[in-house]
Symmetry: C2
């Protein structure tokens, strides 16, 4: 059996290793266009920032070590030019000596990955305008940062996960960083209530931010580059990183007549098999099915690529026996002192898909408050209004963000509900969690919403009510202490501290509509319970309390 693998970075190398473990006697040839295989793609920003000082530590394997261990013929600097499906062979060029040759296959794997998007903006093709996709890009950016010196002016176009990782790392190098994002917020895959915290955080760190802004032109001059924005602003830069996304490399597949999907990725079935039964494909270049929506998706993440590779190798060796489990888009990034991530479907996705949902927003300590180092963690979850099925979650905080995301991701994988979040028996000791973990609290609040123990109101709904207060009056009550209230509150709010609420309530007319808020939602909930049971029918608790409200409105 002869396996040819096109692409030796993530999906390709993993598939090759698994193929060898399953079949000691096969011939395995790996073609990699670039000079490196199996390198740490996700580590590139951190070598630029100096967190990973040794460039060499990014290379997990060399062609020789990988070749020896897995008895594989690894050919770097080697590009596959064409696939001849009829005769089951590929045409290849060795970029080192320009020599072209052919190689036959029994089974072929495509793992070409993606290329960075470079939008057709005038001036984008200059030497000081970069993308970050591979080692060569990294080397170029690192050289530029060193040449430009401390206080260099850097512009990052695109505030997605990679854009923000690069923002932090350029900031760490001493650059003055400006971020430009087309969407109305940073981190478009994360809902605003959670992304807002990160947005304020990067501004607090001294990063300049333009949202709702696109670049119209890069104007190069002796002193650097002027980045012109749609809104008329101009930013002076020594260099620019364009981080506006990637797109699947499908030319080879398309030229061979393989099917390409509606989203522009290589089409594969659930066994990672292309429209040609002897050709499989994995990684960032393929379209897979989102397990929750049943719709096609492109997913540029390392974990899913790894899982695809293992499944694919099994199917290439044993026939199509294993279906790929799919990915629900769990992603995380460290952004300065914060970590932020998401899993499942965001509120924005649910709205687009027309899937009904409810939301709970909670802020809790990441571990027991009396044990040092506790910091708040903010959680937003989306769940089904009928049976409470967990649909998605977003988390932001200092520590343990990854833990909570993984619990949510595991729960979603099991079609779990918000009741599972309240029931699961978590690992508690003061350094790690609380008797009620933040995940449990998110579940409990959701349960209170579903069982109608409390009516919630979202910040944007309150905003609408405030706009129309003249026509339709309501009572807005801040149940925090006088001290908290004085430090900042929502305009027009009365301050009835929770522990005195029972007395104040005696003077509230019974048919009033009352919107309650506290700092994070807990005291607001207790207040709602008190008032509801005193006979008030229209009592609402502001989701996420003043913490969320002030974050999204800042």
């Amino acid at each position: 059996m002869k396996y040819l693998i096109i692409g030796g970075v993530a999906g390709g190398a993993t598939t090759a290793a698994r193929l060898r473990r399953l079949d000691e006697n096969a011939t395995i040839v790996v073609f990699e266009k670039g000079p490196y295989i199996s390198y740490a793609n996700c580590g590139l920003p951190y070598h630029i920032g100096g967190t990973i000082p040794e460039r060499n530590s990014l290379f997990l394997q060399t062609p020789t070590t990988f070749g020896n261990r897995f008895d594989a013929d690894v050919r770097v600097n080697t590009e596959v030019l064409a696939i001849d499906r009829t005769n089951k062979k590929v045409r290849v060029v060795n970029r080192a000596n320009g020599k072209e040759y052919e190689e036959k296959y029994d089974k072929l794997l495509l793992a070409p990955g993606t290329t960075a998007v470079r939008p057709p903006i005038p001036g984008i093709d200059a030497d000081n305008i970069f993308v970050l996709r591979d080692v060569a890009d990294m080397d170029a950016i690192k050289a530029m940062v060193e040449k430009a010196g401390t206080n260099a002016r850097a512009v990052v176009v695109g505030a997605g996960f990679i854009g923000l990782e690069m923002t932090e790392n350029l900031h760490k190098c001493g650059c003055a960083v400006t971020v430009v994002e087309k969407a109305p917020q940073i981190l478009p895959p994360v809902d605003w209530e959670i992304a807002a915290e990160v947005q304020h955080h990067i501004i607090d760190k001294g990063v300049k931010l333009f949202v709702n802004e696109g670049v119209t032109e890069f104007v190069h001059h002796d002193g650097g580059t002027t980045v012109r924005l749609q809104g008329g602003n101009e930013i002076e830069a020594d260099f620019v990183l364009v981080s506006v996304g990637v797109k699947p490399l499908t030319t080879l597949a398309q030229n061979a007549g393989l099917e390409v999907g509606e989203l522009g990725g290589i089409a594969v079935n659930e066994y990672m098999q292309t429209s040609d039964a002897d050709i499989y494909a994995v990684g960032d270049a393929v379209e897979t099915i989102h397990p929750m929506t049943g719709k096609k998706q492109l997913c540029y993440l390392a974990g899913p690529a790894n899982k695809q590779a293992r499944t694919c190798a099994n199917n290439m060796v044993f026939g199509n026996t294993q279906k790929y489990c799919g990915a629900i888009g769990t992603a995380i990034a460290k952004v300065f002192d914060l970590s932020v991530g998401r899993t499942g479907l965001s509120e924005r996705q649910l709205q687009t898909l027309g899937i009904p949902y409810k939301v709970s927003i909670t802020h809790t300590g990441d571990h027991a408050g009396y044990y040092p180092g506790s910091n708040p963690v903010s959680i937003k979850i989306q769940f089904a209004p009928d049976n409470g099925r967990l649909l998605g979650a977003e988390v932001c905080g200092h520590d343990g963000v990854d833990k909570r995301l993984d619990i949510f991701a595991t729960t979603i994988a099991h079609n779990g509900t918000i009741y599972d979040l309240t029931d699961f028996d978590h690992a508690y000791a003061p350094p790690f969690s609380l008797p009620k973990d933040p995940v449990t609290v998110a579940g409990l609040v959701a349960e209170n919403i579903l069982t109608e123990k409390v009516k919630m109101i979202q910040w944007y709904e309150l905003d609408e009510m405030l706009k129309h207060k003249a026509e339709k009056d309501f009572l807005l009550v801040d149940v925090r202490s006088l001290l908290e209230n004085r430090a900042g509150t929502i305009e027009g709010a009365e301050n009835y501290p929770l522990d005195e609420l029972r007395e104040y309530a005696e003077d509230i007319p019974e048919d009033s509509t009352i919107v309650i808020f506290c700092a994070i939602g807990l005291r607001g909930y207790i207040a709602c319970r008190i008032l509801t049971q005193m006979g008030f029918e229209n009592v609402y608790n502001l989701a996420g309390g003043y913490k969320t409200y002030s974050a999204v409105k800042k």
Copy 2:
């Protein structure tokens, strides 16, 4: 409606708060024997050690703040002497003034908690021999530590979770600490392969340890106390902490004729209701059902107490509508630089219960090795040999131990399998995890075992084989590098480095039995795959590799 609550620390206070949220008009009275309510029991060791400097931060609520917020009548220093079930009233004494009185109830909650076990060892009743169960114990120990000064000689009897937390904290105070444990290892609820790492760690920190040892006598003299051990050893101590367990406080319940279970806890049904329909009970004093075994258990953990309290309050108000979800014994402790924990059923428990299982032991980095601060995390999982259902897990490492335990606990809660561990879409970026999370790797190794890609051998099975090598010969192969092999290996092992194994194998007789090991099991697995496919039928990979073997044998 009038609710009386006996016990105001964890389960009692939580139930009272939930009762108020559900019923604004009820009368709620909380009786607490001690002077404090709702304090941070799990924080006590850390105030002694100084990590939590402010004693006051342990008191999450005072009787006044709790009473105000939840409109509850909180009576501290007040002991309930008897329950008159016929007339639905309790007899109470105010310990401050000695005044006795009666109080009627509609529904009664018992949350009496536990008392520390003080075994009847001669000399145990001295002033310098402590247990740690409440604030008074903590104050006494802290005063003793301060009086004894730096370099005080402390003996901790019992190396469970609390014993080890106290060991760390006393060590932090400058005490020379000796630990005495009756079992053959520290942390008896954790299997030896994982506990061994912690055991070596505390010894490395300078703690003296006696296992397989009980105390026969405490002999007090002018210079302190001599702790006499069964084996004949004597330890000189300035003071002793006895941490050998707790037992439920059931006298009140028993005297009232309430049913007590086979394990000595208050018997409750799945609604947390005792044998009297108007009396409920929660917390450390009750017996509940283990969801995996169906057997009764005593569970002394804060998370489960909290969940019981919420369920119980719901049932007290709405009738028996909600079943308690049960606890699978998820527990964690920080022990110096390591964290260690467990969930589900350990190998030892499975053996006792006669439940068939298989084991996988893996050692992986807790996040990407090229990103700074990566440390190994060791994982042992137990799973069903037929369908791969996850039965239990133990984890030890520096960071992210709690995360992995919570993922395992969530998976067990959903009756998940080891295949779910390989499939779940986890949050990956270099600071948090790897493209294959340690949990994924544990699942993948288990999958290789279940699908017979590899035969595993446990360290104790290898030991047996080595004992009988004269009668039944086999080849023991270390596939690590020459350098690693020279730094320490298993006696009698040949060193065939993995990348040269294919050549060595040509000289191995075909009918040989071969036991392979590497550092952690990964290269051993690859070696097994190579040899198996070359035609060798009896090839075994040592579970956990040399890392586990050397830890358990040290």
